[in-house]
């Protein structure tokens, strides 16, 4: 009996172990034969993490959870956007310009090829633009205003019915991914199939292609460098250095930190509390060597429900804003890993739109005394405990929530509560898990939340559109994407719509509208800007050096969706292997010809400077 047990136990244990090994080896991989490689050579592999939460849903760029690198490494866009210089970059499009008020002309760059060797043409662009005819495309609203899309050879002409949404269209030009028509045409036939399309080997025009054998939805996506990439072949960009890029699924902040310290990850895009200490001791590096360490990504703010008393009173909101010690949050909670927000909330990349005179006249500053004065002058009285009451004498006790477990926000919440209390404003923390927090925010079941909603983009219109959007939906799901503060200002909303329909060349009008919108924001404070969340990026130099850095390699250092087609993809080109060997096993032709911007091509792509052409007016000028 004993022997039987022993044999059975040992046998079952072996079977179970074999099962793990077999699944791990076959798992999600569509092909079950083993690779000739024993492992991806570390010296040719860049390992990143911090983008993919949960399982990787697949390769569909029209859903929100596609494999990291899908757009940028594999699929590319017509234009790109450089948030540091504010310029657009002609990419798959040699040019993209308005030839008349309602006519937009795209000239496709010649010599671009899909991963399957087919040439990239004007009809491919037209095909991708027409995908917006399905109402499951996030660009469907733009398509409704399109009269015709016609492709002739390498030229695509888009004709609009009414006044085009110039700004949204420009934004779409560097965000719509070009997917291969030959791969998708027969699959994407209706709105539903646009959301379920997810090929195992997506064909793109970018420098990398997916290694379907290495793909594991719970663990990683593996990208392999193509033998040829049009941009390197044409001398528009140096070839990215790593032969393999492996992006790991996020597990936890603790594991991320351990992986960074052990050099398992080369680039990590998580928020790691206290990472400044690791930078200061030389264990990791960041974009800036000193505070704020990171570039900014979005604005975190205090979102009041402007339909709730007394938050419906702009004077009260201003007093609340002035009661908050933002510097305390920046220095103590974030240890200077973030920057305090401007009173306009406009990200540093939009600084050229900031109306300094308006800020001086209307911006709020932390001052408990001023907050108290404002409330007293407005007729708010204190109760016996010294806290302010509503004007009708009822008690003020505002709830403030952040998603449970977001420790940096929880600390910020406590600091807001404490500094507001000093000014006589009673706020109580309310603990909500993320889903409840989100649902309550969308349906208006809150007084105050800390939130950040709109990422960096090419134009502050995306920011204003989020803040001032009307109408406010009070039924069903409530507000799904915009105006969670429920601020109703039809004049401001009309200005936002006007801005969208102002040609980018009309810089004076754009400046004026932006000025009015920020004045309204600062006067009415429908939102209270607090700090700028960073483009969290920690680099380790165990294997790779020459990471993005202020002053020299000014690239967006994150793998997050929407960032690689800014200048994220460029961060891989100047990388050097620790020790100096060139990991690139594929020959990159020396640049030839002229750069589209008109300047002669450099003899060889510099490792220190961006080597792409910027569109200083040819395709699309920023305001």
């Amino acid at each position: 009996m004993k022997h039987v047990w022993r044999r059975t136990t040992a046998g079952l244990a072996l079977v179970a172990l074999a099962a793990v090994a077999i699944t791990a080896s076959a798992g999600a991989s569509p092909t079950k034969h083993s690779s000739p490689l024993a492992g991806y050579p570390r010296s040719q592999t860049l390992i990143t993490s911090g983008t993919q939460w949960g399982n990787i849903a697949g390769t569909n760029p029209y859903t929100g959870n596609y494999a990291a690198g899908m757009i940028g490494l594999d699929l590319e866009t017509l234009l790109r956007f450089n948030p540091v210089t504010g310029n657009y970059i002609n990419w798959l499009a040699k040019s993209a310009t308005w030839t008349a008020a309602k006519r937009f002309k795209i000239v496709v760059r010649s010599g671009v090829k899909w991963g399957d060797g087919k040439p990239f043409t004007g009809s491919d662009v037209a095909y991708n633009l027409r995908l917006a005819r399905f109402n499951t495309s996030q660009w469907h609203n733009l398509y409704l205003n399109v009269k015709a899309i016609a492709a002739h050879g390498n030229t695509v002409m888009v004709v609009f019915k009414g006044t085009p949404n110039y700004i949204q269209w420009q934004n779409a030009m560097w965000n719509i991914p070009m997917i291969s028509p030959s791969q998708s045409k027969t699959i994407i036939t209706n709105a539903a199939s646009l959301t379920t399309y997810s090929p195992g080997n997506p064909i793109g025009t970018g420098p990398y292609q997916m290694d379907s054998k290495g793909f594991d939805p719970t663990t990683r996506v593996v990208w392999v460098k193509k033998a040829h990439w049009w941009a390197a072949d044409q001398g528009i960009s140096p070839s990215p250095k790593p032969k393999y890029i492996i992006d790991l699924v996020n597990t936890s902040n603790t594991n991320s930190l351990a992986a960074v310290l052990a050099g398992v990850e080369d680039l990590n895009n998580n928020y790691l509390p206290g990472v400044n200490k690791l930078v200061d001791t030389g264990k990791v590096s960041t974009y800036y060597k000193k505070a704020p360490y990171m570039l900014s990504a979005n604005t975190a703010w205090l979102e009041p429900n402007t339909t709730h008393k007394p938050l419906n009173d702009p004077v009260f909101r201003r007093a609340l804003a002035e009661s908050i010690n933002i510097n305390q949050i920046v220095t103590q909670d974030y240890q200077n890993l973030v920057l305090p927000a401007s009173p306009t909330g406009l990200l540093p990349t939009w600084s050229k739109y900031v109306d300094q005179a308006a800020v001086k006249a209307n911006g709020f500053k932390y001052s408990t005394a001023d907050a108290v004065k404002l409330l007293t002058n407005a007729g708010y009285k204190r109760d016996s405990s010294g806290m302010f009451m509503n004007k009708d004498g009822s008690k003020i006790d505002l709830d403030l929530s952040v998603p449970q477990g977001w420790s940096d926000w929880e600390a910020a919440r406590d600091m807001i509560i404490s500094s507001a209390k000093t000014a006589g404003i009673r706020i109580t923390a309310k603990v909500k898990d993320f889903n409840t927090w989100q649902s309550d925010r969308n349906t208006g079941n809150f007084d105050l939340v800390v939130d950040n909603n709109y990422q960096i983009s090419d134009n502050p219109w995306t920011y204003w559109n989020g803040i001032y959007h009307l109408p406010i939906l009070t039924t069903g799901t409530g507000q799904t994407n915009f105006n969670f503060e429920r601020y109703s200002n039809p004049a401001a909303w009309a200005l936002v719509q006007k801005l969208d329909r102002t040609p980018l060349s009309n810089t004076a009008a754009i400046k004026e509208i932006n000025s009015k919108l920020q004045t309204t924001l600062m006067k009415d404070l429908p939102l209270i800007p607090l700090w700028y969340n960073g483009q969290w990026a920690q680099f380790t130099s165990k294997y790779w050096t020459n990471w993005p850095a202020a002053g020299s390699r000014q690239y967006t250092p994150v793998m997050w969706g929407g960032y690689l087609q800014m200048t994220g993809i460029d961060m891989f080109t100047p990388l050097n292997l620790m020790g100096g060997a060139d990991p690139s096993t594929h020959p990159t032709r020396r640049p030839r010809g002229r750069r589209p911007g008109g300047a002669p091509a450099p003899a060889a792509p510099s490792k220190e400077s961006p080597c792409f052409a910027t569109s200083s007016g040819s395709s699309s000028s920023t305001a």
Binding site: A19, V20, I22, A24, G39, N55, N141, T436, Q438, T477
Partner: protein, 331 residues
């Protein structure tokens, strides 16, 4: 015997229906809406488009229907073997998520359960008759069995993963590993498997060792043991009988704690980011992915019921009294 099994099957069937109903109800009654998160991840500039996307996904998941209809559809799909589609990982099917995760969980659970049960019983039996062992194994076992799975897992990660860097602390294999039937990959998988296995093994081991040690002492003090000794039977034989008798409660115990061990495996996987069912269910619960929660719990419910059933059968085989009792005889 047949009546016994029919009765058992009926109880199991009833448990299944109730458990599955609870499994369906809990995620649906949670506050929040996962489709909002799904749509929120897509950068949309126009609320009308956002609303259309929202409506599309609500319809795709049947979430626009009244709850009773959703419940009906749930059973219909279940009998068709369709566990639905993950909301957050749309369009991945729940079945593929489970199929991917099962081997990792079973690879942890089966060796951990069987080896800890076997080793715990052996060591417990030894401890019952050796003073030195009793003084060392007993307190250690009490400490281990009282340790929450998660806490021990965190401790192991901290000591062996982070401080000593002897073992990896996440995933089932190295980031640069190429999967295949190679020695190097097998070793890599074992390297990642060892710590989560060890944490499950150690906690369970303690419980079994204590149980067995106490049972053996009890059995050796019983009348039949004294009788055998009086007849001059060798110590070895007496202990063999005592061990056999002591095994019975341990088998029952195995059935009883199966659920707890599985729950332990789930939290252990979360700590080690080990991509089994526990890790997936944690992701699903935090994101309210109804269908993944339902699917995985369904699998666990069925698994626990089957395991209990197997233990019932084993019990009948190893304990002649049960067999005789069922056949109408007297023990």
């Amino acid at each position: 015997m047949l009546r016994y099994f029919i009765r058992k099957l009926f109880v199991y069937g009833l448990t299944f229906v109730v458990a599955v109903t609870i499994d369906w109800a809990i995620p649906h009654l949670m506050p929040g809406n996962p489709v909002l998160t799904l749509v929120g991840r897509i950068q949309v500039q126009d609320p009308k488009v956002a609303q259309q996307l929202y409506d599309h996904y609500m319809r795709a998941f049947n979430l626009d229907l009244p709850l009773w209809k959703q419940y009906g559809y749930f059973w219909i799909s279940l009998f068709h073997g369709d566990l639905g589609t993950s909301i957050l990982e749309f369009p991945t099917s729940v079945t593929s998520i489970i199929v991917h995760a099962i081997p990792y969980t079973l690879g942890l659970l089966i060796p951990a359960i069987l080896l800890s049960w076997y080793a715990g019983n052996k060591v417990g039996a030894l401890a019952a008759r050796r003073k030195v062992l009793d003084n060392s194994v007993l307190p250690a076992s009490y400490a281990l069995t009282a340790t929450p799975y998660m806490w021990l897992a965190i401790l192991l990660v901290f000591v062996f993963g982070i401080t000593l860097s002897l073992f990896p602390v996440g995933f089932a294999y190295s980031p640069t590993a190429v999967r295949g039937f190679t020695w190097s990959f097998g070793v890599d998988v074992l390297h990642h498997w060892f710590l989560p296995f060890l944490s499950l093994f150690l906690v369970s081991f303690g419980g079994w060792a204590i149980g067995m040690r106490n049972m053996i002492i009890y059995e050796l003090e019983s009348d039949y043991a004294h009788y055998l000794e009086a007849l001059g039977a060798p110590q070895r034989l007496v202990r063999k009988y005592a061990f056999r008798n002591a095994m019975l409660p341990q088998i029952t115990g195995l059935a009883l704690v199966l659920g707890a061990i599985i729950a332990g495996a789930l939290v252990t996987e979360i700590v080690f980011s080990y991509p089994g069912l526990g890790y997936q269910i944690y992701r699903a619960i935090t994101n309210e992915d109804y269908f993944v929660i339902q699917g995985i719990f369904l699998f666990i419910i069925v698994g626990v019921l089957i395991a209990n059933f197997v233990v019932d059968i084993v019990y009948v085989i190893v304990d002649p009294r049960t067999r005789i009792g069922m056949q109408g005889g007297r023990s």
